[in-house]
């Protein structure tokens, strides 16, 4: 760690001080340290989820670099001659053989490979959880809308990284995954056939795809991820982190321990912990045992053929389509059994992507927001989020319909039908339940502010009446419960030219939907009135 160098250095300087002076006089780093070194970084467990994603990505980069020294992205055919007995002499691609060599003939190679794959799963999972945190606390509001978009693109890129990596070993599982991609691409109207043909360099499977995916996987996609991660973090510095409402915390400050030393030590330590968790998992738990799957061959397939978890929602969407959604019209084939999932998922993704702009438009609120919402205080947003999560979860579960069937003694047809219902009706149920729960929690907060906590102490009054004594809140506890804003539905008013525009009407109906049921925070007057009226 560099310590801030002092210009008027005393006569006896330590080595560290001398080194920092040397560096500073050549890099001007002192200004940077002065600017950032004692910045406050708000502290909350949920603020570390993005770091988990970042650290998992670093682990994936490190382990992946090691793997590139051994992996050969060639689909040339060889006869396997490594250590794993049940594949000896079997014809396979060089890619598969070199992945087996990493696993069986390079000491520690399997460890690095497993850490790479587990790290990739963790990377995407952490991004997902991080996004949920951002969404449910409204941390995407102005000025952070663009950072939400960047983060969202990173999520998509992470899935692309994952899928390209999953396909590299050219084993039976990933080969069938590519076969599915090929089939999906072919189902796209007009361009599908040629897109697939160009992607695979001829007919499926061809001899090109592994090499092409490898270029994407280790060059193009990581470069984009690194660049966008850097931009994402620059914006975090520019915006300063959000914080939860609390005594002393305002829209105008950022409260927390300083970057140097506490935050740096915690974040640095946390990097090693995430690294360690991945090392532990990689040393104890098998992932993607390609030696079981064997080399890709278009004829066999394994029961339980699934993509890695983050592609599951797309695979599930394909499974949920009922029979018969394919037509010939104008002498062309329209594969709605592929198009509908693509369009629905595309619509879902775009909706999530632009949600911050929709909410900002409905609210018309142009102020900066640095205090994160408690989910209950934005009931409609929380309910929309719950609906989205239910929709996604239904698709996700559908990708394991066969495993659900065998493990819970169900029929796979029954599982599919139940999940079809879940995906269509589930979001509405989740929406209504969540909204009611949020409003009920807000009402409870109001009760607590007005009457205090239930203490459980029963007291007999002189008149013989029994009452439970309520413990009043101190001002710090109260602040946490009252420091939020509520919005009211938009009143339609004519604009400057005396007209009511269609946009205004749509905005008003959205606004009614968002804010019709609203619970306002307790005001001072209400609390005083409450004290007068009660014990």
């Amino acid at each position: 760690m560099s310590t801030a160098p002092s210009a008027t250095a005393p006569q006896k300087r330590s080595f560290t001080a001398a080194a920092s002076v040397y560096v500073n006089e050549r890099t001007s780093v002192a200004g940077f340290v002065k600017e950032l070194g004692r910045k406050a970084f708000p502290d909350h467990w949920s603020f570390l989820l993005g770091e988990v994603a970042l650290f998992a990505f670093v682990v994936v980069l490190i382990s992946g670099t090691f793997l590139t020294f051994f992996f050969q992205a060639s689909m040339a055919e060889v006869h396997y001659d490594g250590s794993y007995v049940p594949l000896k002499g079997v014809e396979m691609s060089v890619a598969m053989a070199s992945t087996l060599d990493i696993s069986f003939d390079i000491r520690g190679g399997l460890f690095v490979r497993q850490m790479h794959h587990w790290g990739a799963l963790l990377f995407v999972a952490a991004i997902g959880l991080h996004m949920l945190r951002i969404f449910f606390t409204g941390a995407f509001r102005k000025p952070r809308e663009l950072n939400w978009v960047i983060g969202f693109i990173l999520f998509i890129l992470a899935m692309a990284e994952g899928f390209t990596g999953y396909s590299l070993p050219d084993d039976l599982l990933s080969g069938n995954g590519l076969r599915i991609i090929d089939g999906m691409v072919k189902g796209i109207p007009l361009i599908g056939t040629w897109t697939s043909f160009l992607l695979f360099g001829g007919e499926f499977p061809g001899t090109q795809i592994v090499g092409r995916l490898y270029t994407l996987h280790i060059l193009l996609l990581p470069a984009l991820v690194v660049a966008l991660v850097a931009l994402h973090l620059v914006f975090v510095v520019v915006h300063k982190h959000t914080q939860y409402a609390g005594p002393g915390k305002t829209q105008q400050n950022a409260v927390g321990p300083p970057i140097l030393p506490i935050y740096a030590a915690k974040a640095g330590g946390f990097f090693f912990i995430v690294f360690g968790v991945l090392a532990l998992i990689a040393s104890m738990f098998t992932i993607n045992p390609i030696w079981n799957y064997g080399p890709y061959d278009p004829s066999p397939v394994s029961a339980g053929t699934q993509p890695d978890w983050y592609i599951g929602f797309a695979d599930g969407a394909l499974r949920l389509i009922p029979p018969g959604w394919e037509f010939v019209w104008l002498d062309r084939t329209w594969s709605f059994n592929i198009l509908v999932p693509l369009i629905v998922l595309g619509g879902f993704i775009v909706t999530v992507l632009i949600y911050p702009f929709i909410e900002a438009w409905v609210k018309g609120d142009k102020r900066e927001h640095h205090i994160a919402d408690r989910p209950r205080n934005a009931p409609t947003r929380t309910a929309i989020g719950a609906a989205g999560v239910t929709f996604y979860a239904g698709l996700w579960a559908a990708a394991s319909s066969d495993i659900l069937a065998t493990h819970f003694w169900l029929t796979m047809e029954g599982v599919i039908h139940a999940l079809q219902a879940t995906v269509i009706i589930g979001p509405f149920i989740a929406y209504f339940i969540t909204k009611r729960v949020c409003i009920a929690l807000q009402k409870k907060d109001r009760e607590i502010v007005l009457h205090g906590y239930e203490s459980g102490r029963i007291v007999k009054l002189p008149g013989g009446e029994f009452i439970e004594v309520h413990q009043p809140l101190d001002e710090y506890e109260r602040w946490r419960l009252v420091s939020f804003e509520s919005y009211e539905p938009l009143m339609i008013r004519p604009n400057a030219r005396g007209k009511i525009t269609v946009g205004q009407r749509i905005r008003a109906s959205f606004s009614r939907w968002f804010f019709e049921d609203r619970i306002a925070p307790v005001s001072k007057g209400e609390l005083e009135a409450g004290h007068d009226g009660h014990h």
Binding site: R38, A40, S83, Y84, D105, R107, L110, F111, Q114, R179, I180, G183, K186, L190, G192, S196, F197, L198, G201, E203, P205, K240, P247, G248, Q251, N253, A254, P257, P258, P261, A265, G269, F272, I273, V274, F275, G276, L280, S283, M284, Y296, D297, V301, L318, R319, R332, T333, S335, G364, D365, K366, R367, E368, H370, M412, Y487, P521, S523, K524, G525
Partner: protein
């Protein structure tokens, strides 16, 4: 709690209204309550046990350096494990040991550093909390005005707005210049091939013998007993020098023998089977997985990828799942020596649907 920038009183004053910092900006439909509570300011600082009890602080210090030493041990252990657990014996168990012991050593090394550093930060480093002031992200009005002036000057000096002909021709050139790169993508696949033609034909042709996958041994009709399922490739596939997998991806066939009474054949296809033996493409008409899960009593074929189900007894029509079209049937016959042969190629393209299929 150490406050660098703000006193509590200032905070309370600044926060009396959320919009106070910039009253010119519209709050939209937010309700600005007139008698909202005021921010009470920071609560009193609560010291940690390590701040008050020197013994506890000592103990925390010991914990931290012990963790760092443990980390060193873990690293050494991982290096030792690399040497102590060789895996050159063709024995999977040795690989397992190598993987686990190197991994556990690395885990200890990483956890030692990680938990040590975090514990150091939590229990020993001075427990300060700072409050930074936030400034509007857009910068001060002066900065914004200066930036606008820079653009205005640049525009005036270059004539970007004024000289429309120059500007528009540049925009046009910029739009067109990437197009040659699009053409280059044609080179991603062989120039002399057209996908629709390739997708419409397979290796099967009149007289090709049905052979076992993977050995390539031809199959006699008598070998196929009722209830059997044979995984079939065209004879000669295994000898192909090039394009073996590409041909197999189209030509893979599942051969089954049913009780002829149970077989409900389309009138125009009655000659396509042989004594209850039928051959269907194994490539799913949905997105192309091998459909090979054959249930010999229900005669259902199931695709393990997306659960499409085909009824073999009923010319492989779809009975469940996202596929639409029945699996294409390969017309078969028997040659003089009793071997099963194809009567012709498939009469339609096999595998997933594509735009130009019809």
């Amino acid at each position: 709690m150490a406050q660098d920038d703000h006193s509590s009183a200032e905070i309370a004053a600044a926060d009396s209204s959320h919009a106070a910092h910039d009253s010119a900006v519209s709050p939209g439909t937010a309700v600005i309550a007139a008698d909202a509570f005021e921010n009470p300011g920071f609560p009193p600082h609560r010291p940690r046990v390590t701040d008050e009890d020197p013994k506890r602080e000592k103990r925390a210090q010991r914990t931290v350096y012990t963790l760092f030493y443990l980390s060193i041990l873990g690293s050494v252990w991982a290096i030792a494990a690399y040497m102590l657990f060789p895996m050159e014996s063709n024995n999977v168990g040795d690989v397992r040991l190598n993987n686990m012991f190197i991994g556990l050593g690395a885990t200890l090394a990483l956890f030692g550093i990680g938990f040590g550093a975090v514990h150091w930060a939590k229990a020993i480093m001075t427990d300060v909390e700072l409050a930074d002031e936030r400034h509007p992200i857009g910068g001060s009005p002066e900065t914004q005005a200066a930036a606008a002036q820079v653009f205005a000057d640049a525009d005036r000096e270059s004539g970007f707005t004024r000289r429309a002909a120059i500007r528009n021709s540049l925009i046009g050139a910029l739009l067109v210049f990437p197009l040659p790169a699009v053409v280059l993508f044609r080179g991603f696949a062989p120039q002399d091939q057209i996908p629709v033609e390739l997708l419409s034909h397979t290796m099967w042709k009149k007289g090709t013998r049905l052979a076992l996958d993977p050995s390539g041994t031809p199959i006699k009709a008598a070998d196929v007993t009722i209830g059997s399922a044979f995984h079939v490739i065209p004879e000669g596939l295994t000898e192909l020098e090039h394009g073996k997998l590409e041909e197999k991806a189209k030509a893979a066939v599942l051969l089954m023998r049913l009780n002829p009474e149970e077989l409900n054949e389309l009138p125009e296809r009655e000659s396509w089977s042989y004594e209850g033996i039928v051959a269907y493409s194994k490539i799913c008409t949905h997105v192309g997985c091998p459909v090979a899960l054959y249930e010999q009593h229900t005669h259902h074929l199931l695709c393990p990828c997306h659960q499409s189900q085909f009824d073999v007894a009923n010319h492989c029509e779809v009975i469940f799942g996202p596929a639409k079209r029945p699996l294409p049937q390969l017309p078969i016959a028997v040659d003089d020596e009793g071997y099963l042969i194809a009567q012709s190629d498939f009469t339609e393209p096999v595998g997933p649907s594509f735009w130009e299929r019809h």
